[in-house]
Symmetry: C2
């Protein structure tokens, strides 16, 4: 029989939390979905869009009776949330999340839910540069990868239910150690975001210094648009990701700096053969990424 | 009356040269279009796609009698080309180009066409990561910007004809000093390409060092895909752009390095307020770029 939760609480009904709610309801995986959030207007939109059935401001009330509680807020808030309503959880409830960083957060969450409930770390790789439930869609996770990060403490039944839930709304699920998750995502997601944010900020600096009279970005083509699309992502969320994956990310930025310095040296010295080799190396790898 | 050329020669029938040919023929701007290139298979595709009417291998023969000759080869080849067939040009012919770098190339081309013909530098901002005429389209330039780079030597009538030609095939034309062009494009195009090539190469390094057992790119989301799309661009073409815009590009890479070092420092020291400010600055600028 397909996985089913009588009552689901989603803490943070934004793009990801809201889209999960829509997916759960659309696929009949939840009897009812309650949203917990700060902004009433956003929660009303979530009801209108079919992401949640109702909402409450008091999280302790919202999680009471829920079989599944999903944390879909910036990762830095997990501790505060779990301390606030952990004791109100129904015994045996599953607590999961959708956060982009795992590592120490998983052990932290496991500690905070204690014996009362069962934590399963999850990360659907399906972000967008838009925030808020209004940008959400029940199809957001279709074809996306979802990484679950079990530990020796993870309850196998809870893990299986979370796996089936994500598969039912269209994701391809894999499992990974929380530490490995952060190295992998640091490389394929966090570093590209840092590069995109930096590129836009560098262009602002260059404009101010070099062509202050021009609306520089008016001359942008599709290349710049694509390269920097993710620089419009939520600063609050990405601040937390940078902080929580700090050690991996700093090392990866340094690997990036090394490569950039190398290419800059080739350009500065006019080494055409070296430049072409460097670009060809990138092209061959990039072409494998469809 | 609309601009019209009895005979046009396109030197290098790739993505841009081929799409220009398709646009000229579709809009009835050319009596006949002859393609000049190295690869017969590509030239046959160009005929089949309606980019050119016929092709020749000998450029001297191809440019003879042409009212307009468009250089659509990597910029490093301009000198060789103009020396090869400059003396075969019809007196008064217009020579133009589609290159992504201008600066010293414009003076070079003006010198090489001499009194015999009239050079007008042009750069339609409409690249793609795909190369070859097969990826071309007569609609490629619709809505795109095309920068013309006249100098005091430029013939006003030739400039006007080239402007009307690009407008007729859908581009929005502006003019700019060749040196300013290279600063602007260095910022909005060349630097983003360097960042994208570097990101892919850094990920290869990170994978080899940190997770050699994993197919790292299998975990990529839309963010990495977009950020690195242009890293599949032609290494040969981008080698030449890097070399010809070397001085601007190195200075811009340094501006980028400064910003990256700043953000890395904020992350390393765990300065959440500073990180968020940096990301917010990027987001606000990026959101203006539609």
């Amino acid at each position: 029989m397909a996985v089913h939760f009588n009552q689901v609480a989603i803490v943070g009904v934004g793009l990801i939390g809201g889209s999960l709610g829509m997916g759960l309801k659309r696929c009949g995986l939840a009897g009812s979905v309650v949203g917990i959030g700060r902004r009433v207007e956003n929660l009303q939109t979530a009801v209108r869009m079919g992401a949640i059935d109702r909402y409450v401001a008091a999280a302790t009330e919202g999680v009471r009776g829920a079989d599944l509680v999903v944390l879909a807020t910036p990762v830095d808030t997990y501790e505060r949330h779990l301390k606030e309503w952990g004791a109100s959880l129904k015994p045996g409830a599953i607590v999961s999340d959708v956060g982009s960083v795992k590592g120490p957060l998983v052990a932290q969450a496991e500690g905070l839910v204690g014996e009362r409930a069962r934590f399963v770390g999850a990360h659907p790789i399906a972000g967008r540069e838009k925030s808020g439930v209004a940008a959400g869609s029940p199809e957001l996770f279709r074809g996306a990868r979802c990484i679950l990060t079990p530990t020796p403490q993870t309850d196998p039944q809870a893990l299986q239910k979370i796996r089936e839930m994500w598969e039912a709304i269209g994701a391809t699920v894999c499992t990974m150690d929380p530490e490995l998750h952060d190295r992998v995502l640091g490389a394929v997601s966090h570093l590209p975001h840092v590069a995109a944010f930096t590129l836009i900020n560098a262009l602002t600096d260059i404009r101010e210094r070099s062509v202050p009279e021009l609306d520089l970005l008016a001359y942008a083509g599709g290349g710049l648009r694509d390269t920097t699309r993710i620089a419009a992502s939520s600063p609050e969320m990405w601040r937390d990701i940078c902080l929580w994956n700090r050690t991996n990310l700093v090392a990866m930025i340094e690997a990036y700096e090394d490569r950039l310095r190398h290419l800059k040296g080739l350009i500065a010295s006019g080494d055409g053969v070296g430049i072409e080799k460097e670009l060809e190396r990138a092209k061959q790898v990039r072409e494998k990424l469809n």
